[in-house]
Symmetry: C2
Subunit: 271 residues, 2 copies
């Protein structure tokens, strides 16, 4: 297996027009339904997609036929369980995740706080795993979750491992949404944070994405620099002070390094 989970594919997702091919249009629909807060009626979808009614109807039918969407008894559409099954199989067999897992657990035990593993995809971080302790709120949902890289610890750590050209290419067209009052506000703030991160080897997220939530994160990169990822220790600000984060930083960096080493060994020295 390979460590590569893809560094490409970071197309702008929000609302790219001109979907390419049949599949593109169908996947857009999936996205649309998945992004909604709940089941959608035919008309809801119709107004959000710019398809003619007949076309949309057939597209939805096909998606339902394949189990990618489901129709509830009120005729509303929701994401089908088939996707969950597909995703869970690939998750379970993901080698990178498997290699990282014991390290995440160790880190969780030592710090007592929640530990995340995420990979960088374009300008987003997708969380691959999460290990939480007793006292934390259950947030299963984090696995698979995509968040902007610029306001998360794992994301900024991963970004810091890019060379300047790549970094610039990815973050120059970003929209810097102010999630909290501490969220980085523009590219210059991000760049200066990244240079600090590079200097010290790890990143902080001080309530930048979610109020009251802080973390320390360290980058993980594959040998060929093709895949970027990161791990973090996260907790509530009232419990997790900056001093604590500083104290944990070396542990996080060490864990990240161990994961890289394990990955190298597992894959053999080839290439």
């Amino acid at each position: 297996m390979s460590m590569d989970l893809g560094s490409e594919g970071g197309k702008n997702k929000g609302h790219r027009d001109r979907e390419t091919g049949t599949l593109g249009k169908l996947v857009s629909l999936l996205d649309l339904v998945a992004l909604a807060d709940g089941p959608m009626r035919f008309t809801d979808i119709l107004s959000l997609s710019d398809q003619p009614r007949g076309t949309l109807h057939r597209q939805l039918s096909h998606l339902v036929e394949e189990g990618l969407l489901e129709v509830d008894r009120d005729g509303r559409y929701l994401i089908g369980l088939r996707l969950l099954t597909l995703a869970s199989r690939s998750w379970a067999r993901n080698e990178f995740r498997a290699v990282a897992e014991p390290h995440l657990h160790r880190l969780q035990e030592v710090t007592g706080e929640t530990v995340h593993l995420g990979v960088l995809r374009g300008t987003e971080v997708i969380y691959l795993d999460k290990v939480e302790g007793r006292q934390s709120v259950r947030m299963y949902s984090q696995v698979g979750n995509a968040s902007p890289a610029y306001c998360t610890g794992v994301g900024k750590a991963a970004l810091s491992a890019l060379d300047d050209a790549e970094l610039d290419a990815r973050i120059s067209r970003l929209e810097y949404h102010p999630y909290t009052e501490h969220t980085l506000r523009d590219i210059s703030e991000l760049l200066s944070d990244v240079s600090e991160i590079r200097a010290r080897g790890y990143a902080f997220d001080l309530e930048e994405h979610e109020s009251g939530i802080c973390c320390v994160a360290a980058p993980i990169r594959s040998d060929d620099g093709h895949m970027l990822a990161g791990i973090s220790v996260t907790g509530p600000a009232y419990r997790v002070t900056l001093e604590k984060l500083r104290a944990w930083a070396p542990l996080v960096v060490a864990a990240a390094d161990s994961i890289m080493t394990d990955m190298r060994n597992r894959m053999g020295p080839k290439r």
Copy 2:
């Protein structure tokens, strides 16, 4: 939201020929790759799918373009993270799962063993959630997992809630794979087990799917009988004796009933 997670759509999955339409063929490919043990080379896929090379190549390219598949640095294909993201969103927002969650936790705390929530899809059970205690092995992977209904507690419990005609329609063409020496061997064994389950209101799985693993399960059905699901308490045979399972049965049934009640209330008396 609706409780309906679909009772239709139980197409025979294994290797249905004659894929309908463009999407059908592409989803088959996704399945093929997801089912594999690891990343697949182009040729591996070529030999398993019966597509000409040019066609297959283009299909794979499209899937990669949409992020449903990814290519590792060795050119091998694996399931893309996009599926994980899509699936996790729908999971997080699944109302049935959300309603059941507190009940699962309560059941876990009382019994100390692992609790599962699964829905019946055709002749398979898909696990929607899992709550485990301290001492159990971490098996995240269970969520999203699909298993045959006839050899799992949740599955048999759900089957027992079908009327005879529906039950027969689903299980008559099954292949009864003997996972363990205790696995039900044919339709007659299943039918007699189901009638016992109906009589007592809950199901056992005594090492029928996995050696050394037992459980008690109770059925959950929506008002309209359209959706079938179940919950179970599962543990290793050396710790979880038949007496214990019997003792837990009323708790499991009560939890299942509570979930049904909550669901009814949440959805309002409409329809």
